[in-house]
Symmetry: none
Subunit: 205 residues, 4 copies
Amino acid sequence: MMTRRSGAAGTRTIIPDKRAAILRSATKVFASKGFFNSKVADIAADAGIADGTVYLYFKSKDEILHSIFDRAMAEFITEGRREIAEIADPAQRLTRIAELHLSRLGADRDMAIVFQVELRGSTKFMQEFSAAGFSEYLDIIRSTIAEGQKSGVFRDDLKPIVASKILYGALDEMVTNWVLSVKDYPLAPMADEVMKIFLRGLVTK
Amino acid sequence: MMTRRSGAAGTRTIIPDKRAAILRSATKVFASKGFFNSKVADIAADAGIADGTVYLYFKSKDEILHSIFDRAMAEFITEGRREIAEIADPAQRLTRIAELHLSRLGADRDMAIVFQVELRGSTKFMQEFSAAGFSEYLDIIRSTIAEGQKSGVFRDDLKPIVASKILYGALDEMVTNWVLSVKDYPLAPMADEVMKIFLRGLVTK
Amino acid sequence: MMTRRSGAAGTRTIIPDKRAAILRSATKVFASKGFFNSKVADIAADAGIADGTVYLYFKSKDEILHSIFDRAMAEFITEGRREIAEIADPAQRLTRIAELHLSRLGADRDMAIVFQVELRGSTKFMQEFSAAGFSEYLDIIRSTIAEGQKSGVFRDDLKPIVASKILYGALDEMVTNWVLSVKDYPLAPMADEVMKIFLRGLVTK
Amino acid sequence: MMTRRSGAAGTRTIIPDKRAAILRSATKVFASKGFFNSKVADIAADAGIADGTVYLYFKSKDEILHSIFDRAMAEFITEGRREIAEIADPAQRLTRIAELHLSRLGADRDMAIVFQVELRGSTKFMQEFSAAGFSEYLDIIRSTIAEGQKSGVFRDDLKPIVASKILYGALDEMVTNWVLSVKDYPLAPMADEVMKIFLRGLVTK
DNA sequence: AATGAATGAGCATTCATTCAT
DNA sequence: TATGAATGAATGCTCATTCAT
């Protein structure tokens, strides 16, 4: 009747955290070939495991992409909150956020590619993306701006939510340009360039 | 931009410009299901032609996406240049560009979805995208900023290319948010919000 | 992005009725390897067409199995009705039905295998099978028996529906035995053996 | 029949006879989802053991199906022989066999489903099935009929082997109908209906 | 004996593209 | 030009089976 056989698998390599390994390999593979052109087999091969093993840790190829985002976003937000907790001045806070944003992504090109390119390829994902951690991130910026307005250092003829999107959009564009560039310049310093304009546009006087 | 046209009038069908019809249908279909999930057959059906006919006008599904971009970008740039030709003041110029950017995309949601979402789904395309009309567009902004610096109305401690990306990024984010939003607000007015900050950040004193 | 190519298909053989060809090949393949172990590719290869072509005529592998049954059953019932229409005597009618049943299946071993073996492999199918043409067939037998009872040639202490199942079961077992047998004896003559017992059990006195 | 038994008492679990438990669970699972759609994991879960443990008692999923048949058939034959040993009259013997056949399967619907539906899904299995216990069962019927012929109570113009298949086929059809029926009527009484016809057809005068 | 994580072969189905008409 | 039937390459996922513990 049914006749499936599995060959004699030789070396069972010991991979301590397979879930993390899969995520790492997937980021690499997605970055180099794009999500739709990446085969689950590519990811498994890169991670040094069997194809089927991927499905012990993730329900589908889609879920892998989601997990990459979830995990990175969670780390980013945690780190962000920690960093700005000690900064009282709203302008300095925004600057720190911008620096973090760019240094974080600038430190992991594969991750940056996935964030800037692959995560954008579907309306469906973009919407979930917006709904999830992303809006939490935007909110950190927004509330910082609102505080600055309250304390009088920022103009209050601006809607904080719009202003936060403007900052985010500017930073995002820096990352996208960096990702697509053939030149290999450091991304982090661009934060200052952005803030030079944005802060001047934001502050009173 | 390729602009092959079908004979003045078909023998059977009364579709004067099939190429344009295909592009229009493709924009609609890509917007609603995403590029990868759209079938060439869907596009043909929407355009009211046979599947094979698509290949008389386009070499591949990919080429359709490219053409959507090419055509829209060419129109946009032509219109942009015409509009700003008569405006002398750099600040007013930038404002006009921002308004055009948002009102153009705000007038055609399907097109906007394709621009903001579908065109981002592949590094390869993004790179071609950058190389092509897009950089021409960015350059209009950049040179306007450079002129403003020369005439002394804009700060000259900013790199024009970076400043142009910041403006573009901010506008782009407005569009993306609008596209993904479930609410149906008008996009064009956001141009003012962006310029309120950006210009203040840009001008000297 | 997507990159599918089709090789240069050389000879496009002309197969007049592809649907019928697929059904014929499927019957052969199912008979020799069993439904679950048959690949759609096997069927396509046997029919001399491409894999994908199968799906232009059938929605799924399941539907092929259903169609084999539908088509054969329809033919069988049509032929059965025609044959018995001219026979007045209920006993002779039943005999004719039995002969037809066995000579039909005895003439096409592959079809017989599919009927006796493959169609039984799933409760789901069996139920649809019962509900469909099969019950129509049983009903021809049942009503013939009922007529015989009315005219007094058959005992009326028997429920016609049960008696019809007994006859069907006996014939069915003859077919199954024949199908599974390694010996290659003619099936049709078994009809007499069955009727020798069944009719004697059925007639009055 | 293989009847390996697990040690009198397990160390951890309190499943005295795991082999039997697996067989019981498998019968349930096969009956509800079909052999091909049942996963070994489903069976293990139902039996409350680990997937791998199944393979300590059975070499393959196929072997489980075989074992279900072997075990049930062996029990059935043993019981059948015991029951008829005391019955001298061939007609009464056959009646007792028919009653047993239907009451046995009528008492365990899952088992009946496996017998009537799942065991039929493969020619290969059907052939082994015929070769094995099944032919032994048929032989009990056949020899009883032969004895009846010898003692003159049964017509001797019938081949006993064919007559035995007719009876078996009739009974088998009763079971199949009962299994597929949505109504929940008792199966055992159908034995009388069958024998009313069969015996009349069989006896002399 | 028991476990259950790991394996990897296997396959139905889709769909971009072609080409005979 | 236009058609649409035919092609066939491509792949995510399942699950029987193994084996280190």
